[in-house]
Symmetry: C2
Subunit: 297 residues, 2 copies
Amino acid sequence: MEIRSLKTFIQVAERSSFTKAAEALNYTQSTVSSQIKQLETELNTPLFERINHTVTLTQAGRTLLAQAHQIINLVDEARAYSGDEDANEAPVRFAMAPSVCSVMMGATYLRFHKMYPKVLVNISEGDTDRMLHMLNQNDVDLVFLVDRRELNSNYVVASEKKEAVHFVVSKESPLCGKKNISIEEVLAYPFFLSEKGLSYRRIFDEKLAEQNLSVTPVVEMGNAQLLLELVELGDGISLLPDYVTRKSYSEGKIGYLDVKDFEIEIWRQLIYHKNKWVSPAMKKVIDYCSEVSETVL
Amino acid sequence: MEIRSLKTFIQVAERSSFTKAAEALNYTQSTVSSQIKQLETELNTPLFERINHTVTLTQAGRTLLAQAHQIINLVDEARAYSGDEDANEAPVRFAMAPSVCSVMMGATYLRFHKMYPKVLVNISEGDTDRMLHMLNQNDVDLVFLVDRRELNSNYVVASEKKEAVHFVVSKESPLCGKKNISIEEVLAYPFFLSEKGLSYRRIFDEKLAEQNLSVTPVVEMGNAQLLLELVELGDGISLLPDYVTRKSYSEGKIGYLDVKDFEIEIWRQLIYHKNKWVSPAMKKVIDYCSEVSETVL
DNA sequence: ACATATCATCATTTTTTTCAATGGATATTA
DNA sequence: TAATATCCATTGAAAAAAATGATGATATGT
């Protein structure tokens, strides 16, 4: 039993005529004839009585007519519904690097929620490897990562931005305002850093390793905002990307260190898997994040 | 959108795998692939995300899955239902000659109703021509007619029985018991006959016409039972088939006339149109009437 | 009786579906 | 890390199904 035959059946039933049904459907009469016969064979019962020149539904036909209408209605609904954006509102599963998360998950997110109250966002955090793995497993739709720029070609980069990473200290720190300090000198001070393996912490470690150096922080944690607060109040050094420190810096709460021959830059990248279908909701998230990434962050 | 594709779609969705779905459906994997693609093209949206080796429903796919289930359920129901006798209980539209009707529509019908309480019967009466026309127009399913035997080949004769037609008089009639009376002599008496054109009345008229005779009844009516009662109580003659008079005759309430060279025979025939689909209900009616026609009537 | 309209049937053409084989990409295992 | 498995997409050929066009049988209406 196929939809095509059912549609034909309905036409014949409604017009009490094979010929008229054929005209209505742009078929040949013989096509209608054989489609009905096919149905009758499958159901093993006549659907019409052809007596002289009148075509009348049998009782089985009458039963099928009602059912056919229901079926066709559902099919039409399915066809119409699938294109409907509102119907396709699935939450966007969004993973972010912890530092981005701590910055985004305040006023920025609330503004987005006000703009698109119906778009739901699931947020998880993680390091770069874990987030990429989640993309590969389709456990997550979208990732906002902070790392080196290089990515294999499995991912679409929706937007990216280069960020400087600064050594930050409190205003009271003896290092505050100094220029051209050597990295060795800086390493003598206590460090407050993000966890090993996390984005710029890893980049930092690798860069140190190139010079056969290493660092042992006194505090390790993922939350960039808390690290910043620690720096503000304490006497340690942290290494944080510009978008985290910018505000505090301009408010004069912290100072930057200018370390000689030691520049770190990272990329904030909003990416998704190349085979991903971008749902309307996901599109909204991407657009918003890209804009925020350019202007606010 | 066809049922076939929807079934495939459901399999893929439930197994999260094109290959597994193909195995389950005894298709090739490429067949599954193209059927899904066909659906996606028609709905203009991806239904699955193929990311690495995982197949996941998109939101549109999730929506369609629910709808596809509904559709398939309805289709299965339609398939199962059509063979169901109970579901196909349409009333049997039954036309009878008035004389048969007046005999059948008593205990005989009640007995039938007791046997098959679910079979509904619509009864109408009419003369032979009108009843045949009703069969041709499919206004009626089954006809019990009383007439000459000849019928064109458009009809199936489910059962038939030859019946004698007797001249009947009351026990008190001077004619009662007489033998070998001439038709002319009989015609001098008052007649109670069925309406002009009705079965044996017409045959009677035609037979008279052959001998250039005619009759003008004092009472004309279709109801054979009432005619019989009139004869019993009055002094007229009627012409009634054996199945109407038998009982009264054997109870000694009426007498037959033996008219010289004047034999009338008719056929009771249960017929339907050759293109008719015989529903289960109709079959029951036919079987019952045939049996009754052989034994009781 | 003839023209017209009906549905069924059949041979033929056209379209669709299915298959088998292959390729590209990824994951698994040794 | 290399060999192997498995996955889905693609392609071209084969098979199946659907649609057509012509014809036939039958009934209707003029």
